[in-house]
Symmetry: C2
Subunit: 321 residues, 2 copies
């Protein structure tokens, strides 16, 4: 049974999930965003799922963890030569999971089952769980209308100012039995929201009806880690998006995005001066080293987050006693 | 307008088509077998079409013309690692055409249009025409029942004895406007049946309703080249299949397969002693060097075939005059 459930996506999310997996192994369940999934050349690409698989499976390119190490681009080069789409320079190895996912889905297998099979093949003991077996597609609202996230990213280079987000299909998406089981575990010690874009990586997970309630069901502390360090996202465009949404691009502002969901918030040591502002909102705060350059950094952050959750639990018990 | 129409598939067929393309350029139309097409991992593989495209496009691996030169297998290796099917070790570059074909077909484009686009991208001036836009699937009849050709080839290693063939879907397949146009050309000087398996490469083309009549419509000589040299197929399993079908594995026996369709038959010099038997069936015969080791060999054979057709035409005119 799961002792830790993480919400993840993107590079930072995958890295912290890896740190947690190294500490908790099979007792970790990672719920992964599928709102950024897209269809390209008829194949189901799931960038967040695959990044988590590559990183936890130990095959990720350290410089570009969204693809396997030693990647080549022979298929893409030939596709372009033959008049196929130029956008999305996909790698050869990174094509295998979308190919199999698409083929297995047409054989009526659930995305969760398919992902479990891929996990097993990558030798991953933790459970990697798509946020739903139903399709949710995040759209970015721009001045020119709503654009699927993949187009915003691949065709528009994340340039148009963001006015908001829509999570198409979210209202009909169902929590999977595997996620319900993981979050109903009596041994649950923490729910960890990994450092990732709050709007298009974490929010879609939270938009699945019933997910928020399930996250709090067992009463385990919910702890989020800031994706914003020193006013900027380490990777991705969370900082840019926050400013366009007329929010301060800061760690403490990220904490507000998770108000009424989280018990604790972890921000980077460089943002330690914002801890008080977080606490003023009734959220416990921990300032520590959150930038994960090495595998040791991932484990250290995972340990700090789990220790922080344990403290919150202990303090609650004291207060209740 | 087409001056020469070739029927092709397999390696030998692609090589002679290439020789013809070097002589006739845009005035050549190649009708290609699609009966051996198959779906694998949800993708539409068309081995005969792609072999013709690679060979005419000048990108084929000389040792294995069914794939592009300098091929790698990164996708396949990862697919296997992730639990995908082991059969069909497809190359990275060779995956591009099936990917695009599948994507473009779901966008409601005809196989003929898709193939024309690929041709253009490969810089091929000749027209490469799938035998139909409708699916025909060749099945091999074995003692254990009918097996799709791809399974017979990939899973059974062409081992079970052949008892016959079925061309599923052939009765509903339609000749394309492009094929009808090519065969209706007033300048047509020859129809060439390239050296290829008569049963699963040439027969499916002939099974498309109306095709046989169209091939003879303009009265241009129809000339076939034997795929059997010295009692064996150079590549493929035509010889083995002939024996299992209780036919002599010989060039002259191939000529009989095309009785009432062809005017002339080209056999290899090593089989020159069979020319008389062919002539006895009312088919003109030419013995020449048919093994194509070099590009010059392709052009030489193409020239010999076209000269042979010209002789047949001239003789007919004389006889008619």
């Amino acid at each position: 049974m799961a002792r830790v459930v993480a919400l993840a996506g993107q590079v930072g999310g995958a890295k912290l999930a890896d740190g947690l997996a190294r500490l908790r192994g099979a007792e970790l369940a990672v719920i992964v965003n599928t709102g950024d999934d897209f269809e390209h050349l008829g194949l189901h690409f799931a960038p967040d799922l695959d990044t988590v698989l590559y990183v936890l499976g130990g095959v990720a390119n350290p410089e570009a963890p969204w693809e396997p190490q030693g990647e080549s681009y022979a298929v893409y080069d030939m596709v372009r030569r033959l008049g196929g789409p130029e956008r999305l320079r996909f790698g050869d190895r990174a094509l295998a999971a979308p190919l199999l996912r698409t083929a297995w889905k047409s054989a009526d297998r659930r995305l969760t089952q398919i992902t479990a099979d891929l996990c097993r093949r990558f030798g991953i003991a933790a459970q990697v769980l798509p946020m739903s077996d139903d399709a949710v597609r995040t759209h970015v609202l721009t001045d020119d209308g709503a654009v699927p996230f993949f187009e915003y990213f691949a065709d528009l280079g994340c340039e148009p100012p963001v006015r908001g987000f829509q999570y198409a299909g979210a209202e009909f998406a169902r929590v999977t039995p595997e996620i319900a089981d993981a979050l109903d575990s009596p041994d649950l010690e923490a729910v960890v929201i990994c450092p990732a874009n709050p709007y298009h990586t974490i929010a879609p997970i939270l938009e699945v009806p019933g997910m928020r309630e399930l996250l709090r069901r067992r009463g385990a502390p919910v702890v989020a880690v800031s994706p914003i360090v020193g006013g900027k996202a380490l990777t991705g465009s969370a900082g840019k998006m926050m400013m366009e949404l007329r929010r301060e691009a800061s760690a403490r502002r990220v904490a507000l995005e998770y108000l009424r969901l989280i018990d604790g918030f972890v921000l980077d040591s460089v943002d330690a001066d914002q801890a008080e502002a977080v606490r003023a909102c009734g959220i416990e705060a921990l300032a520590t080293q959150t930038v994960m350059r090495t595998v040791d950094d991932r484990v250290a952050l995972a340990r700090a987050v789990l220790d922080f959750a344990a403290e919150i639990r202990a303090r609650r018990l004291l207060e209740a006693g």
